[in-house]
């Protein structure tokens, strides 16, 4: 234990070199140990391992697995960087990911910024499909880094759409939209989310529209008019979904839940389809291009329902 404390009090500068998905740690230690102090490196390693286990792990499976993973590997990085043990715990189901220094470092950075996402991340990483796990993690880090760099408050305050000017539309279209809308006074702010003239669609009962929401987040709000057809969402799953739908950064995610609304029995509604406009959020830009379906009176539609078998997991890695 004394040696473990000595090890802890030692200054380490850890340089990380990443080669592909494997990482090599080069440890430059400034250890001030007296020459007369005989330093038993093997027992010191075991002390450090036990210290880390006692301090961070409660679950017996985690304890055994951690011991097996690091019985002969360097432990210095666990003392040098905050949150690496938690990152390892998140990845425990994946035999190879949890031993990759780069994976642990980036996952730790994510968890340090989003401590409440620990269980979500752990639940998403399973043991049978390593490729999907790494895609999931890379997308998680990507969405988190966008938030960190461009929307740190998570309020989309600099988000702008570059859509069609409402004054360029025929009056009849605006009038149709206002007639349909539950809040006609705000229709113009919807129009500028699209780059094309809204196309009027007469929908009958049973007409179904969908919306993607970052996985695990609360469902769509009571009044949101921004929906899409399922085919439109499917078309772009692996073709820059977030870009095509011009999503605000706060709505970017590794995976998405899908919610649906259905036009109620005996109701007809006007749905307005337009092409999603380009957007900017600080320096981050999206192209738009997908077709959105604008629902202006949600009272005619059922409450949003989570479609459990329709999880969206884009494969594109940023």
């Amino acid at each position: 234990m004394r040696k473990a404390i000595l090890l802890l009090s030692t200054y380490f500068s850890v340089c990380l070199f990443v080669t592909g998905q494997n990482a090599v740690f080069e440890v430059t230690s400034k250890i001030s140990v007296s020459k007369t102090d005989s330093f038993d490196y093997a027992s010191n390693h075991l002390d450090s391992l036990n210290y880390l286990i006692d301090k961070n792990l409660r679950d017996s499976l985690e304890k055994v697995t951690f011991k097996n993973d690091f019985s002969t590997s360097s432990l210095e990085n666990f003392f040098g960087e905050k949150g690496l043990v938690n990152a390892w715990r998140v990845c425990i189901a994946d035999d190879s990911l949890r031993k990759m220094a780069m994976v642990l470092r980036k996952t730790a950075a994510f968890l340090n910024r989003n401590p409440s996402r620990f269980n979500y991340l752990k639940n998403e990483i399973n043991g049978d499909t390593n490729y999907k796990n790494i895609v999931f993690l890379k997308r998680t880090w990507w969405a988190d880094s966008l938030r960190f760099n461009f929307d740190s408050l998570g309020n989309s305050s600099s988000f702008k759409t570059f859509g069609i000017n409402p004054s360029d539309l025929k009056k009849s279209i605006i009038e149709d939209m206002k007639t349909e809308a539950a809040a006609p006074q705000f229709v113009e702010s919807i129009v500028i989310s699209g780059s094309s003239i809204p196309k009027k669609i007469v929908a009958n009962s049973g007409y179904t529209l969908y919306k993607i929401i970052p996985k695990g987040n609360a469902g769509p709000s009571l009044f949101t008019p921004f929906w899409a057809k399922i085919d439109e969402i499917r078309t772009y799953i692996d073709l820059d979904l977030e870009q095509k739908f011009g999503l605000p950064i706060i709505s970017h995610s590794a995976k998405y839940d899908v919610y649906k609304i259905v036009l109620k029995e005996g109701k007809t509604a006007l749905v307005f389809e337009s092409e999603v406009a380009q957007t900017t959020e600080n320096e981050y830009k999206t192209t738009g291009g997908a077709i959105q379906s604008l629902v202006l009176d949600r009272s005619k539609w059922t409450s949003p329902e989570l479609v459990k078998d329709l999880e969206i997991f884009p494969s594109s890695i940023k």
């Binding site: 408050l153 998570g154 309020n155 989309s156 305050s157 988000f159 702008k160 759409t161 539950a182 809040a183 705000f186 229709v187 702010s189 919807i190 989310s193 987040n217 609360a218 469902g219 769509p220 709000s221 009571l222 009044f223 949101t224 008019p225 921004f226 011009g246 605000p248 706060i250 709505s251 957007t279």
Partner: protein, 81 residues
């Protein structure tokens, strides 16, 4: 209400909550109706703009609005006109 750190929106939220509390404390039916309409309009204004559309759910306001609305509706059903 959790702040979204957009001063204009936080201020509007605060004013609405304050007004709702006043209407509820006075058991004022007409005032409660008015506040209900104002809250609905504010939520629609947020929802109809892509930049503010998800604030309500992301900052957990939906539950708060639902609680306030339920209390206001009680006042409307029971209160003095």
């Amino acid at each position: 209400m959790k702040s979204c750190q957009i001063p204009k929106i936080d201020k509007a939220n605060k004013v609405l909550v304050k007004e709702a509390k006043l209407a509820i404390s006075k058991n004022d039916k007409e005032h409660s109706k008015l506040v209900l309409t104002k809250i609905r309009e504010f939520r629609m204004q947020l929802a109809y703009n892509k930049a503010t559309e998800s604030l309500e759910t992301n900052f957990g306001w939906t539950l708060e609005y639902d609680k306030i609305n339920a209390t206001l509706q009680k006042v409307i059903g029971l209160g003095n006109s």
